[in-house]
Amino acid sequence: MAWSAMKRRIALVPGAVPAALTGACAGIQSPLAPASDQAFALHDLLILMTAVCGLIYLLVIAGLVWSVLRARQHAKRAAAAPVDDSALDRSLIASAVIIVTGLTVLIFGSFLADRALLAARAEKAMMVRVTGHQWWWRIEYRNPATGRWVETANELHLPLGRTTRVELASNDVIHSFWVPNVSGKIDMIPGRRNMLDLTPRRSGWFRGACAEFCGAQHAHMALDVRVDDPVAFDAWLAGQAEAARKAQGPGEALFGLHCGSCHAVRGTPANGRAGPDLTHFAARRSIAAGTLPMTRGALQGWIAQPQALKPGTAMPAVPLRPAEADAVASYLAALR
């Protein structure tokens, strides 16, 4: 434990520089602020590589500057001195030795980090299925209590200190799952399944993004990630497993009529599978895969003009009268 505590302290140093430069929100989507075993391993490797490569760069530049200064002096002589390259021949060998030594260190370090990413594979882990869609994330948990799958979207919750095994797939084109504070990226490829182990060590909000160009709205395919202590996480998952509470007012019926063929709200007739599951929509942090914050105003705007806010999104502008749109927004805002 002393070692990993020390590692965490090392991690803070380079992470602190850009954070100080850039203010509050920075660092929630950054490999420089690791928050899991896997991200720590990669962060240590980054530090090692930056140090070795930086040293080699300084050597090269020092050699270059020295050579230019020396050769400028020599240029003042009228004629060339007879050339004896035997010292240079020896230096050539020496430089080969330096390069090979440096590379050996780096290859070995890379190999160890690669194995560290897999270290948690031996543990028993909770399964989460994340499926990429143009341009949002379907997220399914296996409820340990019932063994049934619980669906949500665009917000991934992880228990602190436990390993979660994420199964990555795609529904359409290639996407890439990247939550840099928690792990390196792994692609989501149609016809294939990839696995990623995450063992978070720091709680809080983080942000992920699709890292493989996936079409018009690749830039608006973000993922909110919440790491919570196991008790809070279990409570959250139990809440997600429940159906939506019975709603008041006309919103539910309007939603079912206009939105229910694409979106599901469990416990109501709305059971579409084309878009994100909205059963506990209002408990999420953002709308449309990180495009807008979860506010009433943003929600109303999103329902009225999705194509203006995220051009190309599969969500059409549904022709609703203002009162109807307001009722749908009130309904959604109550889905906690």
């Binding site: 509050a24 270059l64 359409d172 830039a219």
Partner: protein, 630 residues
């Protein structure tokens, strides 16, 4: 040997182009063809640079509205495709076309008409992409279009087809050019220029050509498969039909990684020439540099998977590709050592070509080292598809290939035009480009490490990316201003520069034996070579060989390793058929975007024009009897 007037006149009559526009269309002069390549590619570089500036404008503030997603995606796709396929590789081929015969003391390329065909077909590719852009069918999926996104289900219309077919154009052109360059270097070296006495520049061009021949078929295959998926519903890349989306990536990067070295290896040839001349000593470690190039050429084919570390391949395989990718640092590092050692032990003259070499080393090594970092299968999971990779690839391609190319332009400009470029404005352009470039791209490393993904048309505020993005935008603008100064200097010096004479820098290789600019026949007599640096060791009294025909186009063919003269070969003269056949091929390529029948119907004009091209040329010109050599 001092040629007399009559000798030169007879050569000139045999080798000069027909006058006027007909001569423009039919020329097979390697220097004119290369100049066309260079002018076209530089103009495209300007256009692609403007696209880059526009994208930097969009990214200078979060949630900017200068561009919507469609325009941004088109911009980076057009920028990348143009720079990689229509600028970098063709510019390197053009330098080979222009310099290889001169450096061999030869009269033309091995296959003059094929050279013209290469250019016209390349130009067809340029028009295919940029006329499509004018017609608003711009490709919008990046410079590598991964299926299924580029497949028929997710990219209806013809944007993806335009991209794929533009590649077919440029790759057929590049294959033809590479065969030409390799054959010229292997079979047309002057007597005495054994492989061991071959300048590094020629080695670089030979190795790059062989790499092109071995790698380009993979990308032509893969883009043809993509077109087949889109046009006739094959299912090479659709998992639902039993295909595999990853197959595309393997085939593309099997070409794509060697492609980077196809651009970089010629640049090491430029650097070697410049370092030798301006250090005023024989290049240190000639064999080490050549062997390094060969090992880079070989390793390049064994590390394509490092572009795919995030796709979830088996870990042990990834480790292999990590080691192979990092191994490139050894030959690349040894080359750099040899150049620095040459400077160290030489008598340095700091003219602009040499400044570019210094800028190259300082910049390229950063790109090489960031390449070592991305070569780690583990660390790459944090770096790939972020701005770190954007920084890395621009450091290796601009720092590693374009800086040497600008140095090469400054170095060989007096040979091509007979005039020197202004040193003062050359230095100003150098400072602007190198300074602006580093200011623009260094921050992108940090942006990547701070989590900014690549290919996003906008980003939310509060991520901490604003300041660095603004610095990057400023740097790109400065670099482009520097580029304009460079071009203005070249244009101004074309009329007003100092007359250069045949050998303004005191170069060691044979191109400096020709007058500046070289006449249509390049050189009056075939030189005979007895060392690696003939111009230094023999000076203007270079031994020469007589006996090539004066009244018809003839070139000397020598043996592959020892360069022993074998026979005189008739060299093809001006012809309209290369242009006609490239038009026929272009029509077939464009047509096949719309209907598979274009391949069957389009084959007829291609066959007709090729028949015209290869129609036996009788009667043979009467050859003058070969006279005694040396």
């Amino acid at each position: 040997m001092i040629p007399d007037r009559a000798h030169l006149d007879r050569l000139d009559r045999s080798w000069r182009d027909p006058p006027g526009f007909w001569g423009f269309l039919t020329t097979v002069d390697h220097k004119r063809i290369a100049a066309r390549y260079i002018v076209t590619a530089l103009f495209l570089m300007f256009l692609a640079g403007m696209l880059a500036l526009d994208m930097r404008w969009q990214l200078s503030v979060p949630e900017n509205t200068r561009m919507g997603p469609q325009l941004y995606n088109e911009s980076f796709s057009l920028h990348g495709s143009t720079m990689l396929f229509l600028v970098s590789v063709p510019l390197m081929e053009a330098m080979a076309f222009w310099l290889v015969p001169l450096m061999l003391g030869a009269r033309n390329m091995a296959f003059p008409r094929l050279g013209a065909f290469s250019f016209w077909l390349y130009f067809g590719g340029v028009l295919c992409l940029w006329i499509a852009h004018a017609a608003d069918i711009t490709p919008d999926l990046g410079w590598f279009e991964y299926p299924p996104l580029s497949g028929p289900a997710y990219s209806p219309g013809h944007r993806a087809d335009i991209w794929a077919q533009m590649i077919t154009f440029t790759e057929v052109a590049a294959l033809a050019a590479s065969v030409n360059v390799a054959a010229t270097i292997l079979k047309m070296r002057p007597p005495g220029m054994t492989l061991a006495r071959m300048p590094v520049f020629l080695w670089a061009m030979l190795i790059a050509s062989i790499m092109t021949i071995l790698s380009m078929p993979a990308v032509m295959l893969v883009t043809s498969m993509l077109i087949a998926d889109r046009l006739v519903s094959t299912h090479f890349f659709s998992p639902a039909g039993g295909g595999d989306a990853l197959l595309f990536q393997h085939l593309f990067w099997f070409f794509g990684h060697p492609e980077v070295y196809i651009i970089f290896v010629p640049a090491t040839g430029f650097v070697s020439s410049i370092v030798e001349t301006f250090s005023r000593r024989k290049l240190f470690g000639h064999s080490a540099i050549v062997l390094s190039m060969m090992s880079i050429g070989a390793l390049a084919f064994g590390l394509w998977v490092h572009h795919m570390f995030a796709v979830g391949l088996p870990r042990l395989g990834n480790d292999f590709y990590t080691a192979a990718s990092m191994a490139i640092a050894l030959p690349a590092g040894l080359q750099i050592f040899c150049w620095i050692a040459t400077v160290w032990s030489g008598r340095l003259r700091l003219a602009t070509p040499m400044l570019w070499v210094l800028g190259f080393v300082a910049t390229f090594v950063i790109g090489g080292l960031s390449g070592v970092m991305t070569a780690s299968a583990a660390l790459d999971l944090q770096l790939t598809d972020t701005y770190f990779v954007v920084a890395h690839l621009h450091y290796v391609l601009i720092g590693g290939a374009m800086f040497p190319l600008f140095g090469a332009f400054a170095y060989w400009y007096p040979k091509a035009t007979g005039r020197l470029m202004s040193e003062r404005w050359g230095s100003i352009a150098f400072i602007g480009i190198v300074g602006g470039f580093n200011l623009g791209f260094m921050p992108m490393h940090f942006l990547g490490l701070m989590g900014m993904p690549r290919r996003v048309y906008t980003y939310p505020p509060g991520m901490g990316w604003e300041t660095l993005n603004q610095i990057a935008t400023l740097g790109s603008a400065v670099a482009i201003l520097g580029g304009l100064v460079f071009v203005a200097n070249a244009l101004w010096s074309y009329r007003h520069g100092q007359p250069a004479g045949s050998d303004p820098w005191g170069g060691s290789t044979l191109e400096w034996a020709s007058p500046s600019p070289p006449p249509a026949f390049n050189i009056a007599y075939t030189p005979v070579v007895r060392s690696l640096t003939p111009m230094w060791d023999e000076g203007p009294g270079l031994p020469a060989m007589d006996g090539l025909g004066l009244d018809r186009r003839e070139v000397l063919i020598t043996s592959v390793t020892a360069a022993v003269p074998l026979y005189r070969q008739k060299s093809a003269g001006p012809s309209i058929w290369p242009l006609a056949s490239s038009l026929a091929v272009s029509a077939m390529f464009i047509g096949s975007i719309f209907t598979p029948w274009a391949i069957a119907i389009g084959a007829a004009p291609i066959a007709a024009t090729l028949t015209g091209w290869f129609w036996p040329d009788r009667p043979r010109a009467g050859s003058d009897a070969p006279s005694a050599g040396a």
